[in-house]
């Protein structure tokens, strides 16, 4: 019974995701908005691997997200016109950077960790921003397009069809989410949660805490850079703002908004955030105030996020 009850939320999430392109239009959305929700949902869930399940706050994840985006764009533009290869390169670049930076900062904790991650993220921002010849600088990286998928027996036109692209995104999302779920259920995942709950105790138990945090950071950045590659493919374009610190802030608010203690929380947070921003910014030029006040209200009144509240209701 309880096993069945556990499966219900999963079934609901997948059902909604699988059918999204078919009802988005009826509720005033568009297919691209659905793709954005899934892409940013993946980014928020990846961040939450570190934030919610290891208890370490990174405010610089946009850097790896952006590296993924530039990785895929530059691969297709300069090297090989292949979407899957681009995604692989993007993910590799983001992960490598995370390995190096992670090693530098793994001893810091709390706000200091957050602050240093922000500042390091800015290095990549300025490289993308000022290195015109390679990155296109402030103008962004243009002149490339996502390429049709060659599956051997058939070609899938993900450029011409928004829906086909959505399902590509969803397939990648599913693979990443499954991997994260398996990792969290493994002994390694349990150890991360132990560190989150009480780092000192974990240390006394002989767990190499720094190594675990480093690994968790790298894994989290790996998935966030995959999200970044999809984000660039979504608009056939990327620019330095994809890796600026305000983007990092958005990922964190998505995770908090949905509920960072729950697995699906960040996805729900991303959905709410993306739709809200899309709607508000068309309604008023003062959308920044609306989003800002929204941030503050979430922090002050819904710190556990949507799923946190739901769970409490169900429990009581």
């Amino acid at each position: 019974m309880s096993a069945l009850r556990q499966q219900v939320p999963n079934a609901v999430v997948w059902l909604v995701l699988l059918t999204m392109p078919y009802w988005m239009g009826a509720v005033g959305g568009y297919t691209e908005l659905a793709s954005r929700v899934v892409v940013l949902g993946l980014a928020a869930m990846a961040l939450n691997f570190l934030l919610g399940f290891t208890g370490v706050l990174s405010f610089g994840h946009a850097a790896y997200f952006g590296l993924g985006a530039y990785g895929v764009g530059m691969t297709i533009k300069y090297l090989v016109p292949s979407t899957p290869l681009g995604i692989l390169v993007g993910a590799a670049v983001g992960t490598l950077a995370a390995m190096v930076i992670g090693a530098l900062i793994v001893k810091l904790r709390g706000v200091y960790f957050a602050m240093v991650t922000i500042a390091f993220g800015q290095v990549f921002f300025f490289i993308a921003f000022r290195w015109n010849e390679v990155t296109g600088g402030d103008d962004g990286l243009t002149g490339w397009k996502r390429q049709a998928l060659d599956l051997g027996f058939t070609r899938v036109d993900i450029l011409g069809s928004d829906k086909a692209f959505y399902y590509l995104v969803l397939a990648v999302f599913a693979a990443c989410v499954a991997a994260m779920a398996l990792l969290l259920r493994s002994p390694f995942g349990r150890t991360l949660i132990a560190i989150r709950e009480n780092e000192r105790r974990a240390r006394f138990l002989g767990i190499p805490v720094e190594q675990h945090i480093w690994l968790s950071f790298v894994i989290s950045c790996f998935f966030v850079s995959i999200a970044g590659t999809l984000y660039a493919l979504l608009s056939n374009f990327t620019d330095p703002r994809a890796l600026r610190w305000d983007q990092s802030g958005n990922f964190v608010i998505m995770a908090v908004l949905g509920g960072m203690r729950s697995f699906w929380g960040p996805l729900i947070g991303a959905a709410i955030f993306v739709v809200l921003q899309d709607y508000v910014s068309s309604q008023t030029e003062n959308w920044m105030s609306v989003i800002g006040v929204f941030f503050m209200l979430v922090v002050l009144f819904f710190p556990r996020g949507v799923l946190g509240i739901l769970r409490r209701r169900l429990a009581s």
């Binding site: 904790r109 709390g110 706000v111 610190w245 003062n286 989003i291 006040v293 503050m296 922090v299």
Partner: protein
């Protein structure tokens, strides 16, 4: 060439003094309350715009005195209402709150004062460069540096000689003990926040005279301030001051040799410092754990 380098070192010190003023305020709040105040740039803009609004009534000097105080008062109120409920919770929340607040402050400034730059006149006595040779040492810039020096001395005086300051410093080391000893920690944090915002407001008024006054004036200044704190050493105010000056000089010098790396160089510097000395140049052992 040597002249060019010399000029940029001087100029970097001037700009660095400005970063330091901003970073000191951030650092105060961070050290005592563990809050990274993302809205610091927003408060800076607020101080600048308040001065602009006051100027017709109070003149330049009046605005210089009154606007930072007003900004600090607004800061006190915001701390009381929005930030106080978050103490004791994960630092994540205060960070997100000030992140949202930064949006609101920037947009609010645009709503009230308009998106377009507004002219911010400074007295003629301060506008002229002192010599054609050292043209970048204008009266205003030297005045700014002098004022930053006064503010820094004042700050260290408050921290070392007054009861409030000593309590702030004690609280930074061990807030729990200070609380047990009968100090009202809420008031202490409130006043400390106000002090930090006062510095932001002052920086804003000074920036308005040097740069153009527009709603985004604070956003571009906040990141260098973070770097100043990290380079100088978390928890150390003299370190923050040093960090501010250093990054000012570093980015000034980089303009001479590799202009496109002007912004990135301070982050590279930060990386190097963290690599060699993780607690920062003057940071205390153990603060970052």
């Amino acid at each position: 060439m040597t002249q060019l380098i010399l000029f940029n070192v001087f100029n970097g010190l001037v700009v660095g003094a400005f970063y330091a003023l901003m970073a000191l305020g951030l650092s105060l709040i961070l050290n005592l309350s563990g809050v990274i105040n993302f809205a610091h740039g927003g408060f800076l803009a607020l101080g600048a715009y308040l001065a602009y609004t006051l100027m017709p009534y109070t003149g330049f000097w009046g605005a210089l005195v009154v606007a930072p105080v007003l900004t600090a008062v607004i800061g006190l109120a915001i701390e009381r209402v929005l930030i106080r409920p978050l103490y004791g919770r994960d630092p994540l929340y205060s960070l997100l709150l000030t992140f949202g607040l930064a949006y609101v402050l920037e947009d609010g400034a645009r709503f009230i004062w308009g998106a377009q730059s507004v002219p911010y006149p400074i007295p003629a006595s301060l506008t002229t460069p002192l010599s054609t040779e050292f043209f970048f040492l204008t009266g205003y810039r030297l005045f700014m540096v002098a004022l930053v020096a006064v503010a820094v001395l004042g700050l260290f005086f408050i921290l070392n000689r007054t009861r409030l300051g000593i309590r702030i410093r004690a609280g930074t080391l061990d807030l729990e003990t200070v609380s047990v000893l009968g100090v009202n920690v809420r008031v202490l944090r409130n006043l400390n926040f106000g002090l930090g915002i006062y510095l932001a407001g002052l920086a804003g008024v000074l920036a308005a005279g040097m740069l153009g006054l527009q709603p985004t004036i604070g956003t571009s200044l906040i990141m260098p301030s973070f770097v100043a704190i990290i380079v100088g050493g978390l928890g150390s105010l003299p370190g923050t001051l040093l960090g501010g000056l250093l990054i000012g000089v570093a980015s000034g010098l980089t303009t001479v040799f590799l202009p496109s790396a002007t912004e990135a160089v301070i982050y590279v510097m930060m990386g190097l410092v963290l690599l060699v000395r993780p607690r920062g140049l003057l940071g205390e052992e153990g603060r970052t754990q």
